[in-house]
Symmetry: C2
Subunit: 204 residues, 2 copies
């Protein structure tokens, strides 16, 4: 086989699919593990690394165009360093030549030369809203409107981050080998078939 990258819309169940696929295929799984490794290498707090990588680029975009060009510069530089470190970690994972599933981190773009199978998981807003509510922690009481706003913001940040490092557009099907709409699917049911698809795709 090889490397499977999973990109996903927030609330679509993409992370669950990635984890279940790794289990089903008996391969390594990378998600937060990458952030943890970057944190270790840079001597920074993992939450700080995550926050910077996930939000700094979108924030700095807003800073640059809406406020002044100078603000946020230090954080922006630090975020670029983390991004390069992340690319290094991803490439080292690929060079390890072990089959694995990588969720997020624009791995489809960073690992292009290793010819991964790139998946995109998406769903309609009603489904994602329900899923978010189902998995929300009990002390997080957001209205539907607030959840939808948050979902859109997170996807916007993902798209922005991806499109900054890739020639292809985040979520545009042309950049993926398989796009799975979970709106009408039972994730536990479909994962074994997706695992079979992956095995056969690499064989072909």
């Amino acid at each position: 086989m090889g490397i499977i990258t999973v990109s996903r819309e927030f609330g679509s169940g993409g992370r669950e699919i990635g984890k279940r696929l790794a289990d089903e295929l008996h391969v390594l799984y990378y998600d937060k593990e990458i952030l943890c490794e970057i944190a270790k290498r840079t001597n920074l707090n993992e939450g700080y690394v995550e926050n910077l990588l996930n939000h700094q680029f979108v924030n700095s975009y807003h800073y640059n165009f809406r406020r002044s060009f100078a603000s946020g510069t230090y954080l922006q530089q630090e975020a670029v360093k983390l991004l390069l470190e992340q690319h290094k970690v991803l490439r080292q994972i690929a060079e390890g030549k072990e089959d694995c599933v990588i969720v997020g981190r624009a791995a489809d773009s960073a690992l292009e030369k290793y010819k991964p199978l790139n998946m995109f998981i998406y769903a309609n807003e009603a489904f994602k809203l329900e899923r978010c509510k189902q998995y929300a922690s009990t002390n997080e009481q957001l209205s539907d409107k607030e959840i939808i706003k948050k979902m859109r913001q997170i996807d916007k940040a993902r798209a922005y981050y991806h499109d900054m490092v890739s020639d292809l557009k985040w979520g545009e099907k042309r950049g993926y080998d398989l796009c799975v709409n979970t709106s009408n699917a039972d994730i536990k049911e479909i994962v074994p078939a997706l695992a079979e698809y992956i095995k056969r795709w690499f064989r072909g």
Copy 2:
């Protein structure tokens, strides 16, 4: 199970996937059969029906906006009648309650209330070009440029036809349950996994 609709870019191998899926799943397969049925019901030649349904709407669009509003009107009316007949045939297939694969004919939209599994098959242009050349009849000698032009024209007609009868855009992943990129796939290899996906999707 239920109804599986297969929409596809020209040259992507979508029709082959549809046919192989029907064989693998032991279900009925509809493609040209629908045109044949319409021809029978309307006492028209099948080629004429096909030509009118596939090209008249795009042509009439061009007529209306580029030439004069009057030209092509008779053909346009006839095409609308055929389109309604086609919807009738599709609904009768659905009412038959037999599992089946339907390729093209904007069946995803016409049969929406029967909750079909909608697939979209696509590929990059280089792959589609190669596939077109491989399957071209020996007396059809077109240059690469001509083939690409033809491919784009056909897809444009498909998109136009689809978007005329649907609220969703042809090829936009949101309208499909599964989008399969054949560029790096061996069709024979992946079909059994797709069949498995379909069975599990309907089960879930």
